[in-house]
């Protein structure tokens, strides 16, 4: 039934000459776009319900389906764009907050696309990673200023420094926090297994740790968020590291809401909440109203884990992110994760997703510079998050000062996500952001694990190629080495904040 004034986003066309009436699309679409009309024995489609996830088109055996953007044009208006008009219609219809899944989809400038990398010529040979070693190993955690040695009477030296706990990554890419509950069992399981296979880490998000994933805990970072779901001493101690989630790039300043429909028996057991109840994460941690409270929680977790795990604090990139990051480091964080405004989410009010926070490029540059100016950069590692679309984005982030990055959306895309932005409906046709058993079984964990591993491998190989091109054979020599970046079509102010020169300089 069509709602008054609300127009479809897509027009779905079925080519009658190709369609063999097999009903695959009917079974595949959780949004009920396709219906089989028993009487006429014909498949029919309702474009209005289509979210553009391509599931039906991908599985249609005869390529009968095509999906186009609805071409119902309004009179051109640079101010009142079609999206804005439609949003008002929707809101006038329902009176609520409009929701979206995934990250900010606005056409604001992506600064990664305004930065280019260096390469060697003549005075400095490039290095071929197929012939020469190329090191991506990265250690995350607090580093001391200097190495302390013991010297015995003969002048023989031995190690005196006791290093704070570190995470060793074979490649500087980790999987961002995505909770079991917001994504399916198979998706979570695949992330954990791919992280282990690649020698990196996956973040459990705030959804607790399913008992089945415990064997992978050495490659898992567990999260303590405002809802404290699934947190107990055992949860903290089995993991490789603990992350305190203060904010998320897609929705800085607000909490989370996992709808009751997604809280089945397994999710309820993992989150330690009753079945079929809403899982509400408050906006702030109700025991953190200021920086000194954060310090208490950091040290509470360090005490609970006998100082054997690095503690990460994840903040969203907001205006004064540099000061907040500095405060977090001084409060005892061993790792600071910064999530930029293009970071993904299972659900966020669209208005917040699209308007709150700042780009990760600027936030990262500002935080790195601030920590260096304060002489505390070595006291914590920086993990950047908030939409890394390719290995180029990753290597540019490292040159700007990140120790490693978190990828979320890219990992989901590797598993089949089509960025339809409807994760909050619980009807993900690709079996990722859903708990519906009919849908989750579509995601084969072995296939998804392999695809995630392939992505990490491919990006790592590309990073090695680019490093070799710059004449660098260890990633630590690029970290914060902004000399290897140049800006194109950026303002002086942007260049200044990014701390890079313009191309040609």
């Amino acid at each position: 039934m069509r709602k008054w004034l609300v127009e479809p986003d897509f027009i779905l066309t079925r080519d009658p000459d190709r369609c063999i009436n097999c009903q695959v699309c009917v079974r595949q679409c959780a949004n009920d776009v396709h219906v089989h009309d028993e009487e006429a024995d014909l498949v029919q489609s309702d474009s209005e319900k289509c979210v553009g996830c391509h599931r039906c088109a991908a599985l249609c055996p005869t390529q009968a389906i095509s999906i186009e953007k609805a071409s119902l044009e309004f009179r051109p208006n640079g101010n009142w764009t079609a999206d804005r008009i439609r949003a008002v219609y929707k809101q006038a219809e329902g009176g609520g907050i409009l929701l979206s899944g995934m990250g900010n989809d606005q056409t604001l400038p992506v600064l990664w696309d305004h930065m280019v990398l260096n390469a060697s010529q003549v005075t400095n040979p490039s290095i071929d990673p197929l012939r020469e070693p190329m090191e991506l190993v990265t250690y995350l955690g607090r580093k001391p200023d200097r190495l302390e040695l013991n010297r015995d009477a003969n002048g023989k030296v031995s190690l005196a420094t006791e290093l704070a706990p570190q995470l060793r990554l074979e490649t500087p890419i980790m999987f961002s926090a995505m909770s079991y509950g917001s994504i399916s069992y198979n998706a979570s399981f695949s992330l954990a297994r791919a992280a282990q296979a690649a020698g990196t880490f996956a973040n459990t998000g705030e959804g607790g740790l399913h008992k089945d994933f415990r064997p992978y805990a050495k490659n898992l970072i567990v999260q303590v968020a405002s809802g404290r779901f699934g947190v107990d001493p055992d949860y903290l101690n089995v993991a490789a590291a603990v992350e305190i989630k203060i904010g998320q790039g897609a929705k800085p300043g607000i909490g989370g809401h996992l709808p009751a429909e997604k809280v089945d028996a397994q999710v309820s057991a993992t989150r330690m909440i009753p079945e079929r109840t809403d899982a509400l994460s408050p906006a702030p941690h109700h025991d953190i109203y200021s920086i000194e409270d954060l310090r208490q929680l950091i040290y509470g977790i360090k005490e609970a884990t006998q100082y054997t795990k690095p503690v990460c604090v994840k903040i969203s990139a907001v205006h004064n992110v540099a000061a907040i990051a500095s405060g977090a480091v001084r409060a005892g964080a061993d790792i600071v994760a910064i999530d930029g405004f293009r970071g993904g989410t299972g659900a966020a009010p669209t208005v917040i997703r699209d308007n709150v926070g700042i780009p990760i490029e600027l936030a990262l540059a500002a935080v790195d510079a601030r920590l260096r100016d304060e002489g505390i950069r070595h006291q914590a590692s920086i993990v950047a998050a908030g939409s890394f679309r390719s290995s180029a984005d990753v290597i540019k982030a490292i040159a700007l000062g990140a120790d490693a990055v978190y990828i979320g959306t890219a990992a989901l895309v590797a598993m089949g996500c089509h960025l339809c932005q409807k994760c909050y409906t619980g009807k993900c046709n690709w079996g990722i952001a859903t708990q519906d058993p009919m849908l989750t079984k579509r995601l084969n964990a072995d296939v998804a694990t392999r695809r995630l591993s392939n992505l990490l491998r491919g990006w790592s190989l590309e990073i090695k190629e680019m490093l070799g091109g710059m004449g660098i054979n260890a990633i630590e020599s690029l970290r914060g080495n902004r000399e290897h970046l140049r800006g194109i079509a950026l303002s002086d102010r942007d260049l200044n904040i990014l701390g890079i020169k313009a191309a040609g300089e």
Partner: protein, 386 residues
């Protein structure tokens, strides 16, 4: 420029952190060589000049220089400052500054020969200095070395037309624009007796001839001659800023000098370990080491990631205690070494090496990242390895 007349305030202290700055560096290819008599016996500059002249084609006349150790025995406890001035005003301003902060035991023009090919010479003067008591009292938590370094950076950055290019004790750097053999003759190096010499011929690709830009780079008693390019420059520079080192010279060689100063003088690492910090073994090799050594090197590499020198290089780093020859980890620049008796020789090319040492006891090509270390025997020795 009036601010240069006052004693540098706290912003120049080495423990102050530098505001992040844009990075600058130059690129060059080069010839290097060095010789050390570990028994302390002295040799004049003629030999090293002949050796570097032998590699004439590795430089292009845009820079040459030398470092010599043991040359000022009569002033050996005083810091020997070698300064170049573009004009008299810079000299007057610098001298009045030096007098406010240092006791000046002696000063004189650096002796030079009249050489047609050496053009556009700056005014070259040397001073033998110690920090004034008043300054020591103000910075009671700093050593004389720290105070000297802070003042070198201050002069180089703030006094227009003045440049301190040597600041160690009982040693000196001599450098300028020209072919190295001409620079050596210009400075009359055959009249100096030293137990340790290094030399450099420069082939810069993107710098105009500035006397201060020639090698060696000297700070305190460290002198670095460098063939190569530091691809990690931006990283090293920001890492050093954490420890108050201000890179002011727009040359990547500068970071090498500061890194050794940081690792050895300030952090008291044995020389071998300082070399392992700047050119560490591969992680895959570290993993295969026995547990104690593995843990030591892992920790070293984790802590000193910012000190790793990446890119192709061969360097000779000299200091009061001896000489270090080192290549990048995958040896992208040439270096050969030889020993005969108590003497150690390193050079970019074997011909130059054999010119210094025609019948060596041992001649070898050091592998990438494996240092050649020579120690003056009068210095206390340190042994490495856990």
């Amino acid at each position: 420029m009036d601010d240069a007349q006052t004693i540098p305030d706290d912003q120049w202290r080495p423990d102050r952190h530098q505001k992040s700055q844009r990075d600058e560096k130059d690129q060059s290819g080069c010839a290097i060589c060095g010789l050390l008599n570990e028994d302390g016996s002295l040799v004049d500059g003629g030999l090293i000049i002949r050796a570097i002249a032998n590699m004439h084609d590795r430089s292009n006349g845009l820079g040459g220089g030398f470092a010599a150790y043991g040359i000022y025995p009569q002033w050996k406890s005083w810091y020997a400052f070698h300064l170049m001035f573009d004009h008299d005003a810079a000299r007057r301003q610098t001298e009045s500054y030096l007098e406010t902060v240092f006791q000046v035991a002696h000063q004189e023009a650096i002796p030079t020969a009249h050489l047609e090919v050496i053009r556009q010479r700056p005014i070259l003067v040397r001073y033998f200095l110690l920090p004034k008591e008043e300054l020591r009292a103000r910075h009671y938590d700093l050593t004389d070395d720290d105070i000297v370094m802070m003042n070198v950076m201050h002069i180089n950055k703030t006094i227009d037309g003045a440049f301190v290019f040597s600041s160690g004790r009982n040693m000196g750097c001599f450098k300028g624009v020209g072919y190295p053999e001409d620079i050596g003759r210009f400075y009359r190096l055959d009249e100096y007796q030293a137990h340790l010499w290094t030399a450099h011929g420069r082939f810069p690709t993107n710098t105009t001839g500035w006397w201060g830009g020639a090698h060696p780079f000297g700070i305190l008693d460290w002198a670095v001659v460098h063939n190569g390019e530091v691809s990690s420059y931006g990283k090293n520079r920001s890492y050093l800023a954490n420890f108050g080192y201000q890179c002011t010279m727009h040359t990547d060689t500068e970071v090498i000098g500061y890194l050794f100063d940081l690792l050895v003088r300030k952090h008291h690492l044995p020389i071998e370990m300082a070399c392992q910090a700047v050119a560490p073994p591969l992680w895959s090799r570290i993993e295969q080491m026995p547990p104690a050594e593995r843990q030591l090197l892992q920790t070293l590499r984790i802590i000193y990631g910012g000190a790793l020198l990446n890119g192709p290089f061969s360097i000779v780093v000299s200091h009061a205690g001896g000489l270090i020859g080192l290549n990048d980890r995958i040896k992208l620049r040439p270096m050969v070494a030889a020993r005969r008796g108590a003497s150690l020789y390193v050079a970019s090319e074997e011909a130059a090496l054999r010119l210094m040492c025609p019948s060596p006891d041992l001649i070898w090509r050091p592998a990438g990242g494996v240092p050649v270390i020579g120690r003056l025997q009068s210095q206390p020795q340190e042994v490495s390895v856990a």
